[in-house]
């Protein structure tokens, strides 16, 4: 589905995915409670913000330098530069001097237009801002043109703008700085004229590069972890060793003896140790003795959960159909080919563990941190502290990665910090530090998933009937958003697959399992598992039919009318030298998947090294609509491949009697320099509005590697990770 059409899509319909749902729905449900408009409710208590002459997205200094205000956080995806480039293009600003600033939390002005609330996720930052920022830039440009026209006594149509300088054939010229005062008095046009994308001079060029590389290479970029304020305290929390356990009692006598420890107290999520610095907080926490009530805790081990999922799948316990078409009653008569897949919990493990700085004094709340979902976090903190959402002031910093982790609807680490700051009181700043162990054992994982398929193959070698059952926990559970008929985020990628579209009979269900282990969206969400299942099954069917896997896909895409899939497939095939000879011991695998409005094809060259798969070259073709920054699209494909490959090869959080077995990077293996492939990115030329790039590169590499291994070893993949611990 075209991402723009989602603006008007029914947000609770069966095809609604995260983009539609995130927080828009929180807003709706809360509004019902109070009976006033959502915006008003969330705005309650907010300070009135004063924007300059050029509106909430553009500031122009007396030196003519243009600053673009980003409503989205920058945590790696180059979003700040991409958003700024959209404004700079329409404004004809001097790109080399354009700056970016982070916006405040203000849902009325800075809502994500695909979410209905302020937040970054679902690879929507560029997509939802596209028209909004083009209009903002074009509007400001028109103000300058009108000011110059009035001053020079010429028609605005005769004035051209380039790199922040306006000029007229008569030889008159003036910079943004010269015209600033006059332009500021102009009324921006209601519907400014936008450029024809064919005439873009900045967008789509190699000039659109990051604005933050310097500060991120000299140690001066500021992250939450780096915040120091006068009188600030640092807190760490002893969290329950099992999910669902609660504090029964604690003994803080030894903790309080640690030099620098100031206070120890219980909060809802554990026992907080507040200290003068991080090391004291950690030593204080180590010295704490806590007894836990684990009567309601998860106590199963991973193999038991897998068995439980298999049973649920076989019985289709409480399952809901997500795609049923054709004659299901008769379609499955005859021989069926069966496939089963198990996926583990995954930790996001961003480089910067969760953290937050909070100051609380009665109704006054200020949060300073890498905030991914301002509206969600305002709601959660307001609820926990009993204040108005709009009164929760947020200053958003860079975050050291997130991959979904900082978009937790319960905002548990933010709430934890706010509760501690409330207890400390007096608006005294408190920095909450989670160490790697807190972060890795703290849940909010990509859920475990089981897929079972039974496919009837037609005489032509292509699927004639496709039965599919998915069992997983729901990331939507307990999230105050409309739940729809089923959790589409659990099956997106199978749902909407061209392969199902091309299959005459389909009977696909999803069943939701339950556990106290909290789960969350993880870079590319449902596609993290559906892509592997769909793409690896296709290669096995192709092998069975003795048809080349690229050819097999071509046929199905043509049948399904999946033109964009076909285009990325052809581009990847051409650039990778598909079918040409490789050194012995190396094989190619291909996979194609659509997520977040973009379609990606990857061809991976895989060999074995010391008994483990090693990926050398990856050719990646992407259709993401109009490419704003080709270099940053490539960077996201490179990063997405590394992130997805890390999970496919090594990623697994496992439980032993309910306790997480991986506590740090020694147990949770991640991809390293010597294991990283070289990714070549090719972009399909497109005139369509931009779609996501932060996530779509991630889910494709796993199946591409599994398909190469199928060629190399003859063995199909039935579970991830590929390298068993």
């Amino acid at each position: 589905m075209n991402i723009q059409s989602k603006l008007s899509a029914d947000p609770v319909g069966p095809t609604a995915t995260r983009r539609d749902l995130v927080v828009g729905a929180i807003v709706t449900s809360s509004a019902l409670l109070v009976g006033c408009s959502p915006m008003d409710l969330l705005g309650l208590g907010a300070k009135k913000q004063d924007f300059g002459s050029f509106g909430p997205f553009i500031k122009i200094g007396t030196d003519g330098v243009v600053t673009v205000i980003s409503k989205h956080i920058e945590f790696g995806q180059g979003t700040h530069a991409g958003l700024a480039a959209i404004v700079a293009e329409e404004l004809d600003a001097d790109w080399s001097t354009v700056k970016v600033e982070q916006s405040s939390a203000n849902i009325k002005v800075y809502a994500n237009l695909l979410m209905g609330a302020q937040g970054t996720g679902g690879s929507t930052a560029i997509a939802n801002s596209w028209m909004q920022l083009r209009k903002a830039g074009a509007g400001a440009r028109a103000m300058f043109v009108n000011a110059a026209a009035a001053k020079w006594g010429v028609s605005g149509k005769e004035i051209s703008v380039k790199n922040g300088v306006l000029s007229h054939a008569s030889g008159k010229s003036a910079s943004f700085a010269d015209l600033l005062a006059d332009a500021g008095k102009m009324t921006p046009p209601a519907e400014p004229t936008l450029k024809d994308p064919k005439t873009f001079t900045l967008i789509g060029t190699q000039s659109v590069r990051r604005k933050d590389s310097k500060v991120k290479s000299d140690g001066t970029a500021v992250y939450t972890q780096d915040i120091h304020m006068p009188d600030m305290l640092t807190a760490m929390v002893a969290h329950a060793p099992l999910f669902g356990a609660k504090v029964k009692s604690f003994d803080d006598s030894e903790a309080l003896k640690v030099k620098g420890v100031v206070q120890v107290f219980k909060i809802s999520s554990g026992v907080a140790v507040v200290a003068e610095n991080t090391w004291a907080a950690k030593k204080g926490r180590d010295a704490l003795k806590v007894t836990w009530d684990d009567s309601k805790a998860e106590k199963r081990s991973t193999p038991e959960i897998i068995e439980d999922y298999k049973k649920i799948s076989a019985a289709r316990e409480g399952s809901k159909p997500f795609d049923v078409h054709g004659d299901v009653a008769k379609g499955f008569d005859g021989e069926l080919t069966k496939f089963g897949f198990d996926f583990p919990y995954l930790s996001h493990a961003p480089m910067e563990p969760m953290n937050c700085v909070a100051q609380v004094d009665g109704q006054k709340v200020k949060l300073t941190y890498g905030c991914q979902g301002p509206t969600m976090d305002q709601m959660a903190v307001a609820m926990a502290l009993g204040v108005l959402p709009g009164a929760v002031e947020i200053e958003t910093l860079f975050a050291g990665g997130s991959f979904g982790r900082r978009a937790s609807p319960s905002a548990e680490y933010v709430v934890e910090c706010a509760l501690i700051a409330k207890k400390v009181g007096g608006f005294r700043p408190v920095k909450l530090v989670w160490d790697r162990e807190d972060d890795m054992t703290g849940g909010r994982y990509r859920p475990m998933v089981r897929h079972d398929l039974a496919i009837k193959v037609g005489a032509d070698g292509y699927p004639a009937a496709w039965r599919h059952t998915v069992v997983t926990q729901s990331v939507m559970k307990g999230v105050p958003m409309p739940q729809g008929k089923f959790d589409a985020t659990a099956v997106e990628g199978a749902l909407g697959s061209p392969y199902l579209k091309a299959t005459p009979v389909v009977d696909a269900h999803v069943a939701i399992a339950d556990s106290p282990v909290p789960v969350l969206w993880w870079r590319s969400v449902g596609a993290t598992h559906t892509a592997l299942v769909m793409e690896h099954v296709i290669d096995q069917l192709a092998a069975k039919a003795k048809i080349d896997p690229a050819d097999y896909r071509r046929t199905l895409y043509k049948k399904a009318g999946a033109d964009r899939h076909l285009a990325v497939l052809e581009l990847a095939v051409a650039k990778s030298g598909w079918g040409s000879a490789l050194p012995s011991g190396t094989a190619r695998g291909i996979a194609v998947h659509e997520s977040f409005g973009s379609v990606v094809a990857q061809v991976a060259e895989v060999s074995m090294k010391d008994g483990e798969p090693r990926v050398g070259r990856v050719v990646c073709a992407v259709d993401c609509g109009i490419a704003i920054s080709p270099d940053q699209i490539a960077a996201q494909m490179e990063g997405g491949v590394a992130y997805g490959l890390s999970a496919a090869l090594y990623g697994a959080i496992t439980l032993k009697d309910g306790a997480v077995e991986q506590r740090n990077f020694d147990g949770y293996r991640v991809l390293r320099h010597n294991e990283a492939p070289t990714v070549e990115t090719y972009i399909v030329p497109s005139g369509a509005n931009p779609t996501g790039v932060g996530e779509p590169g991630t889910p494709v590499i796993g199946p591409a590697v599994a398909n190469a291994l199928l060629v190399l070893t003859g063995k199909p993949t039935q579970s991830l990770p590929l390298v068993k611990a």
Partner: protein, 151 residues
């Protein structure tokens, strides 16, 4: 304890418990926050600094072990180092959180091996995790900086 540490060419007197890792003294006491906390157990390299020119993990090195040792942090690299220029040229950083450590590990490598091979880079850099997956750009930037330095 009170200890004199030699950091980026300056002698600094620090008050801290003897077992305090250098990382927390740098970050919390000296407010030099360029060196990052990623794992605390010498597994990720985000905290990499130089001790007498050798790359060490500041998160796992107690200050009591550092008397008389010359420490260099990302702040001491000066901002104009060939590696830093190459990092900007290649737009290496994504979230950026690992990059101080990556650059310090790379700087120690180039000091020892001015023209590192891929195998040298693997060996020197494998302890430095980048969850954003900027690995191939890091490799390209190291080679670029090496070429600049030995030109």
């Amino acid at each position: 304890m009170s200890i004199a540490l030699e950091i980026n060419g300056k002698t600094l007197q620090v008050e801290a418990e003897a077992d305090t890792p250098l990382l927390w003294v740098l970050r919390d006491e000296l407010k030099m926050t360029g060196s990052k906390f990623g794992c605390g157990i010498a597994q990720c390299g985000a905290c990499t600094v130089h001790a007498d020119g050798q790359p060490i993990r500041a998160c796992s090195t107690p200050i009591e072990a550092l008397a008389g040792v010359k420490i260099t942090t990302i702040e001491g690299l000066g901002g104009e180092h060939a590696l830093q220029a190459a990092w900007v040229k290649h737009d290496v950083p994504q979230c950026g959180y690992c990059q101080s450590g990556q650059i310090m590990a790379a700087a120690a490598l180039l000091a020892k091996k001015p023209r590192p091979t891929d195998a040298d880079i693997d060996e020197a850099m494998t302890g430095n995790v980048c969850r954003c997956g900027a690995y191939q750009r890091i490799r390209a930037a190291i080679k670029d900086a090496a070429a600049t330095l030995s030109a």
